[in-house]
Symmetry: D2
Subunit: 251 residues, 4 copies
Amino acid sequence: MTSNHGAAGPDSHKVALIVGAGDALGGAIARRFAREGYTACVVRRSAEKLGPLVDAIASEGGRAVPFGIDARKEDQLVAMIERIEREIGSIEVVVFNIGANVRFPITETTTQKYFKVWEMACLAGFLTGRETARVMLGRGRGTILFTGATASVRGASGFAAFAGGKRGLRALAQSMARELWPKNIHVAHIVIDGAIDTEFVRTLFPERYALKEVDGILNPDHVAENYWFLHKQPRTAWTFEMDLRPYIEAW
Amino acid sequence: MTSNHGAAGPDSHKVALIVGAGDALGGAIARRFAREGYTACVVRRSAEKLGPLVDAIASEGGRAVPFGIDARKEDQLVAMIERIEREIGSIEVVVFNIGANVRFPITETTTQKYFKVWEMACLAGFLTGRETARVMLGRGRGTILFTGATASVRGASGFAAFAGGKRGLRALAQSMARELWPKNIHVAHIVIDGAIDTEFVRTLFPERYALKEVDGILNPDHVAENYWFLHKQPRTAWTFEMDLRPYIEAW
Amino acid sequence: MTSNHGAAGPDSHKVALIVGAGDALGGAIARRFAREGYTACVVRRSAEKLGPLVDAIASEGGRAVPFGIDARKEDQLVAMIERIEREIGSIEVVVFNIGANVRFPITETTTQKYFKVWEMACLAGFLTGRETARVMLGRGRGTILFTGATASVRGASGFAAFAGGKRGLRALAQSMARELWPKNIHVAHIVIDGAIDTEFVRTLFPERYALKEVDGILNPDHVAENYWFLHKQPRTAWTFEMDLRPYIEAW
Amino acid sequence: MTSNHGAAGPDSHKVALIVGAGDALGGAIARRFAREGYTACVVRRSAEKLGPLVDAIASEGGRAVPFGIDARKEDQLVAMIERIEREIGSIEVVVFNIGANVRFPITETTTQKYFKVWEMACLAGFLTGRETARVMLGRGRGTILFTGATASVRGASGFAAFAGGKRGLRALAQSMARELWPKNIHVAHIVIDGAIDTEFVRTLFPERYALKEVDGILNPDHVAENYWFLHKQPRTAWTFEMDLRPYIEAW
């Protein structure tokens, strides 16, 4: 860990916690906050896989701390937050960015799959939101950002599981916003509508990926800029929800 | 259908399956379908507690069969549906009517509570919808009705768990409707917005209950009429969603 | 008019006013209410063109009175309602059913066209709703039904004018419902999503019309049944909005 | 850009056109764009009343040009845009910011009032959007921003006219976005939900205004920052809609 960072300036004690830093978007958000002096606490199942992201942030002069936990597990999440607050700094902003996009006809959606999607997309978001709300309420400030998807606002055929999880997450965000905004905690929900520039899309959807040449897929850095913007909004004018999609996306 | 149809095989019986028949609304829906000659298969955790409902239906000349299962348990639900189809008749309409209305500040919402609300409001609905869809797809017809609530469309402060479950259920209904309507299975979602005339409301919210004198709380029989109406809609003009509330309700 | 209908029963003084009775749906709604004993006051620009509808209702034993007015003109609408109330009976239910579906790229949408669509879809609805609300408020009862469309909830490319008018109408319906429900006037909005079985569709969209053979376009009589159902809902459980589309419609 | 660019041809000037610059928000948006070097073309009925705004922008080193036109009049709007493009510069961003917030019971909403609200909130927005879209389509770029309100998404009791106009405007924005985004023109809609810090609120709603001390009313400069942010979004990640309200606002 970082207790030997004795010379750290004041900003080094502000933490941006990114739960779900395993994809391109989570990584870009972590880099964006790190560039502003936040210590990026980045979370995914396997801490080892976070090496490249931590290195990238360090190479830009920032600081990142990797955490390998399963965010669906209350005890792991609680312990991590406790440790961050004790050893690293105050969590000023948290981004919940775990997705679980699957598509199955309803009769082929196993109970195990339905449950797992909900655990990842929704339960982990609840645990992340609730536990960070606790520490933020103690300080009377903070920002909680949830990454949504098209499925957050629409239940398309074959998406009973994914839309169920994402709608549950959006309900969580709305309910928390209405409760926590008056306590100076900014809760917001970003609806990501479109393919993001990732290895996954490049490999599995090459035709879609080819749209990158005409700016037709979401650039993670551009998306991340919106998370930073939301975090910086003064409280006289806070946003609960905004959507993001490439200009050529049909919607 | 008459109660003396004792020797009739499964084919001669049309079944209305009411999952969540423990409240006034579930009971009223069961009676409504029974009056049209459907065998009402009524489900709640405790079969014994269904006695009064079964008797009431019988006293009106209808037929009801009680099932005491936990609809969150896949094996129990699958076994029940298999038995209904084999021994009682074809499930022509299913109503998922389990609620789980709780209210807590976010930091007082335990993981256990959050999970249980989702299990009842959403997972049980998924299991019910998927398993009845299977048998209906085999016949190429059927109606699947989900009971929603205000929380299905709004995440108010303190309702992270309930709104999460209800939104997930609505997403399920939408996704199933888009997939199954073209296969002649009518899936719909009814948004119940307001207090229903129940013992619960009468006891705990006497001021609210007093509105009954001016028709100010939902009459279960009136609500049930809408379920019957949706089931009878010809397929050239199906409804996915309708809301129901007393005339004096603020919304 | 009808003062010589000396033998009329009590129902003969109840009026169903259908503003926009020039299409298949308006006609079907008029017939539906006439079958229940309501005098159908049917309205379109040209009274002569209402002859076949009036005759059809008469041949079914009902009663219809044609009115040729421009519902965008306040004076004509006010005079008509005054005359109906004085000479025919009490307007118990009014259906606003004027559409104005056009599609143009934004830069080809003339101001004249944009204005006319709004006048037909929205202003006429406002005048109809306001003037019938006046007489209904005097009696402390009534039903006001607005016909919506897909564009009522979605602004698709090319539909700036039509969606603008239809959204305005839906806002009117919502605002009136919130104000008038507590005064015992039931205001509702029906979202018609799909092609209706009309001469227009038969001639201009023959491929779409061919879907009729598989119940794939909206049957006006089936749609009309929903208007009747809404009118009959007891006030303990009123619906504000329901959608209607054929089972095979994509949405 | 500097104020001494007197001899510069139109191409060297980027114009931000603010239609509805008579309130605090319109003024703040104009100042925000002027600070970035845009010539702020500011529009309200009376050009004289724009003097203080033009002076304020000049005192900050910016440039503003006042236009006194009635934006409901096609000929005036067309002539103004033609003149701006010919004499001042290219309209890179337009903000439609005319409101018309009134509240009346439905039966007290005169036709004149209903019409006027629609003309201001919706027709003027249509004309502004269509005419600026024309010149932007010629250049293949531009940003069109519409100011919405709570009434854009909700039709409360007494707001039939205002909600009708605002919903129509939102439908316009959605339809234009779906048509024009693929042509590289960014159309967005900002939902302003809450009182803005204005003379109007200070005078008429002193209790509301007192919330300013706890950041409880919308700061026009903070709101304006979001307009600038939307204009700068790269096209790989555009937003159609975002909401803005003070942290203590109930919603």
